[in-house]
């Protein structure tokens, strides 16, 4: 059974420390000087959308710290992902990383996030939001903050009409969701060689044997880490060139910077390592005080890890699609066609 789309109001009563509209970021924008931006933890954002039957690229909400609370005028289906947090529906604790079927008027609170920066909240359907270069992702420098304010009402266009399990009050979906492990005291981030690795004697041993601490000035532009660094030798002035997401830069001071998705696109600092693509989502969750160390892997291993991560997402998509089709829950039109991995995702 399919229902026509209807408009649902979602009242955000508490907006946390910083909450924004978000998605996987801009495509084809960097050649125009605009960083792709988008969810720092692409994996969690993609999973939140997949779990509610949306396309991975759909707009969702990114919540950073504090208490986030909302109430919807109609039944809605949502999913919360990201770092461990306390999620309650009318005061009762519910799970993360699974579809939640909420009755109209239920008050949902997401709070007490621990171990990292970000939670993602996706709703079955399409959130109404402004877009810049095709994306809902914030680009605050250019005047596109996308920030949610307490008391703001969001509009959701959804085909979801409520769902109850015939025997249980809350449906139990068993979906194969690989949940990232945010619990270690020291995160291990995989890296591959950068263009200046070989000209920086000792950097391999240093990065793999030292602990680094994420500093307070870190943000979506880059993580600033305290820890031992060495400077490359015999490098002249580096002419400003494009820098990839996850580049490890050593500027003139004794600091290590790992660039994020909203990086300034060009820089003239040496790049001593580059985070493996499959590790970027974890880096996107690192909050000030987070300790991490690094493990060198080959390019082939990096690609294989990313392939594995993408395979997990495709597998989840297929299960959600089959399940939702069987029980009459809506899936996004583009979802059916999304069984081939999207290059822009995660």
């Amino acid at each position: 059974m399919t229902f026509p789309e209807h408009a649902i109001s979602i009242k955000v009563s508490e907006a946390g420390w910083l909450s924004t509209f978000q998605d996987l970021g801009r495509e084809n924008s960097e050649f125009m000087g605009v960083p792709c931006g988008g969810a720092a933890d692409q994996y969690s954002a993609a999973v939140a959308n997949i779990l509610v039957g949306n396309s991975r690229k759909a707009a969702c909400l990114e919540i950073m710290g504090g208490r986030f609370a909302f109430t919807a005028t109609h039944d809605v289906m949502c999913a919360a992902t990201g770092v461990p947090a306390e999620v309650t529906v009318n005061g009762d604790p519910v799970g993360m990383w699974e579809p939640l079927c909420l009755p109209a008027g239920a008050r949902v609170v997401i709070a007490k996030a621990s171990g990292g920066m970000r939670n993602y909240l996706a709703f079955s359907g399409e959130l109404e939001t402004a877009r810049f270069m095709g994306s809902a992702a914030p680009e605050s420098r250019m005047g596109f903050p996308q920030q949610l304010a307490p008391g703001q009402t969001l509009t959701l266009h959804s085909r979801y009409r409520g769902f109850t399990h015939p025997f249980l009050t809350q449906p139990l979906f068993r979906l194969p969701v690989p949940v990232p492990n945010f619990s270690p005291d020291v995160w291990t981030i995989d890296v591959v060689d950068g263009p200046e690795t070989d000209r920086t004697p000792g950097i391999r041993k240093l990065l793999s044997s030292s602990h680094y601490t994420v500093g307070a000035k870190s943000n979506h532009v880059g993580l600033r880490l305290d820890g031992p660094v060495v400077h490359p030798e015999g490098l002249g002035e580096i002419v400003s060139h494009g820098v990839p997401i996850g580049a490890f830069e050593i500027p003139h001071g004794d600091e290590l910077i790992i660039l994020g998705r909203s990086r300034t696109l060009t820089a003239g600092y040496p790049i001593v390592a580059v985070a493996a693509k499959a590790s970027l989502s974890m880096l996107g969750q690192a909050s000030p005080g987070r300790k991490m160390t690094f493990r060198w892997i080959s390019n082939e291993q990096a690609v294989e890890q990313y392939r594995e991560q993408q395979r997990g997402l495709v597998n989840l998509e297929e299960h959600v699609h089959a399940l939702f089709a069987a029980v009459g829950l809506p899936v996004a039109a583009s979802f059916a066609a999304a069984s081939s991995p999207s290059p822009a995702a995660a």
Partner: protein
Amino acid sequence: MTTHTAPAERLHHPPELEAEPFGDSALMLRVKNDDGDFRRAAGRRLRDVLLEVRPYGVLDIVAGVESLLVEFDCLAVTHEQLAQTIRLAVAGSGLEPGAPSASQALFVIPMVVGEEFSPDLQDVAEELGLSPEAMLQQFQSSVLTINLLAAAMAPMMGGVQFPGQVSRCVEPRTNVEPGSVMVAGTNAIIQPFPGPSGWKVIGRTPLTICDIREDPATSYKPGDLVRFDVVPESEWSRLEGQFLRATPEGVASDGTGWNGAEGGNSDLP
């Protein structure tokens, strides 16, 4: 690695292209040539070729001063496969600076100078051994080419006809006003949004050069031409906030070329 001699004479002699992995999902491309002007022009051409050909797996491109970073889907292609596709594309199209494309627009940008607007004017003139007036004269008579769009769509332009290179600020400024016209080396750039910069500020345009409520957010693109036109400070209030648009063809370059047409098909709040 070089692309070997083309069998057919009609094929261009492509310049040697260096392709270096930058992590698991990016490839840094540099045109090898002793002439810096050639490298920059060939780099622009290379970007156009890649945007036109769209080699399989390419996600986006970041233009540097003398290089291109190609970001790709590492599940679709390897560094080696992509480098080979790009070399083939280059062999087919060549990178010789061709005739200016028909879509190359000219922007005449009004700029105001004065104590508030030009904190580094005197410094830059002294460094070049010119009077401020003569330096501005040379700046205004230069026809600049937009080489790339830098941070936040800032137009980075080459071709300033100065007798020497302009150095950067010893201490970069933490905030430079939007519209600031800045120089370094023989390049110029306009600051589209407030933010830090180490370039020398010699003037400010009252126009808005980038506005995300416009679609596209800038009227200019890489390859377009720019000329600056110093106007009296009294013009500021008339021009302030108008969105920069290309100078229509045939309009005399006497400073009346820009227009302030209202516009924007905003879907923004």
